[in-house]
Subunit: 363 residues, 2 copies
């Protein structure tokens, strides 16, 4: 990290790893002949968006109307808002509908009716399918509900039905490739149930775990993973990536050392890393821990992890050998449990080459 | 909420409740003759800081050097950074030490030596005491370690020993007034152990739960609560406040309704509320739920709570009666589990009078 002076929690970005993550998913989508519509909610940055464009990406996914407006301003003209339409934002949606090729996500007759009456310009419409995550969407065991909505959409002059969209968030409960393949196969079987009555429906899936481990996307039309651009410790534990693929880390100064407790205290807390945690090897972790190196960060230190976070403090469990050579003022790299939330908290990416990339502020 | 048009997650601030929370703590400190040095990490706003000034507050606490610099720029001249000194930020500390009455928190001989050698200007020094939270600090069962550090500090020309400082974060495990009083009494007993060998040491405590329920601060010199300014659902569950004292809420649009599951989906997720959760009545909660009203928000809806959060979505459990009358496009008010983290995510406060208060952005 010779090009960067770190004095407080600092978001580091490994551009080479990021571009490799992008290229790998682009290649996989191309090999399968499916549309790659990456989710930009993870990085939220026009500049990192350009790295996708350079890899041939032309269509993107976002999770808010604000993000859609931001990326539309930065030259993206095919944007899906993969969040149930918030009818209160109709003014911004109307602006987008005239400006870009806008895709919306819908799951109720009320919202289809609202868009029919209030959306000036046109939009493609995807129906949200619940394939087992039970966050939101229509259960695939109720194909009639899909059919009725499609009939309603096809009767409008401003909406075009595209297909079924899901986020198989329950893949985050799976561990390992075999379990992820099983989640994927079960999801595909569910889609087939609905396609039996709606053969014109395209299929779009979005979760990083299955998109990462599945190689054969037969029967799909579109994939929308987002987190894979950086990956994180959660994905490492699930089995969707290796530690080497994790492309962001937060550099955190050591401010206190408790050898007798096997712990060090870092300046790096919930306002830097987020309060997200995950079960790993029988304990709750808030992040893996690595050393800074001239060219980035090391492999995670065996037996080391962030065990607790308060607003600005992190508690790091460290093996005795590491603790005995650690000094106040040293810097540790924390690989985040959930990179989307960490990046959302830290506004500026610092690349290993010493460049800064900022993303817009939520007002 | 007649003065405010809400179309997306919006941080609402009840100024009257906030000022009452401030006044109550000011009165209690005055009655007890202890210094009130409120922690400003909760609100992070110069404008809300002025409400404390109007209530007679002159000394404050912050949790980062950046926050100290921000409030120093806004006219605060007596600031304690209640976080172990991060020696890498010595340049900013030197600037502050010449500008204001700066108080620092220390727990090791290495850091005292570093400040002796590198701090231009002078600073008051508090020693971090661990009274049972085990985040960081020196155990009160080891009074010799305090004595040695005080001798080292008193031998310097730029540092002045002030006393023992603690954050009894384990009070967050207690439930109800009796349990909080027990935590407080046990903490005071521990301080007396150290004062037996360091009679000149002042005592400073900081957690909102004990500061809220204890009325007699005999033996203390300073209290530093922060969260009490807004309180939150966590404090309600612990027993440090009532729901009526919670002074912030996030207004969240309803985007989907699942009557059969007893749930609604709101636009309002981990990037708005934070991923902090707390055990309440046998389930994990991410927030209480209330209705918007002309003059703010209602009492929490009985049986309603936020049960899960992803990046932008919240899942809200609602009783059938509420669900049956709920419509997409309605707005629910979520009382946050941890107001410090929620406020940190949403940059702009919207007062019930329709004014906006912004706080600085973390770079």
């Amino acid at each position: 990290m010779s090009k960067l002076t770190i004095i407080k929690p600092t978001l580091l970005l490994d551009q080479a790893k990021t571009r490799r993550n992008i290229d790998r998913m682009v290649d996989k989508a191309n090999r399968n002949g499916v549309r790659f519509r990456p989710h930009f909610k993870t990085h939220q940055s026009a500049e990192i968006g350009n790295w996708f464009r350079q890899a041939g990406v032309t269509a993107i996914t976002v999770s808010s109307v604000d993000m859609a407006s931001y990326f539309a301003q930065h030259g993206w003209s095919d944007i899906l808002i993969a969040f149930p339409v918030n009818i209160l934002e109709i003014d911004a949606l109307n602006q987008l509908a005239t400006q870009i090729n806008l895709s919306l996500l819908v799951e109720s007759a009320e919202v289809v009716q609202f868009l029919t009456d209030n959306l000036h310009g046109s939009a493609d419409v995807w129906l949200k399918a619940d394939v087992g995550y039970h966050r939101t969407g229509i259960l695939t065991s109720q194909p009639d509900r899909f059919v009725r909505l499609v009939e309603q959409i096809e009767a409008t002059s401003n909406l075009t039905f595209k297909g079924l969209l899901t986020h198989a968030g329950h893949s985050y409960q799976a561990r390992g490739r075999a379990a992820l393949h099983a989640v994927y196969q079960e999801m595909v079987a569910q889609f087939k149930q609905v396609q039996a009555v709606l053969p014109q429906a395209q299929i779009s899936i979005g979760d990083t775990p299955t998109c990462s481990v599945v190689d054969d996307f037969s029967g799909l039309d579109e994939i929308r993973p987002g987190n894979f651009v950086f990956y994180d410790v959660m994905q490492r534990i699930i089995g969707s990536c290796t530690s080497e693929q994790i492309a962001v880390a937060v550099a955190c100064p050591v401010v206190a050392i408790h050898v007798e407790r096997g712990e060090a205290i870092i300046y790096g807390g919930a306002v830097h890393l987020s309060k997200e945690s995950f079960e790993d090897a029988g304990h709750k972790t808030f992040g893996d821990v690595a050393y800074l190196q001239a060219d980035g960060w090391s492999a995670p230190v065996e037996g080391a992890y962030v065990s607790a976070l308060s607003q600005e403090h992190g508690i790091v469990k460290l093996p005795p050998k590491v603790l005995n050579s650690l000094r106040v003022g040293d810097i540790l790299a924390v690989l985040p449990v959930h990179s989307c939330l960490t990046v959302n908290l830290l506004r500026t990416y610092h690349t290993l080459a010493g460049e800064q990339i900022t993303r817009p502020v939520r007002e």
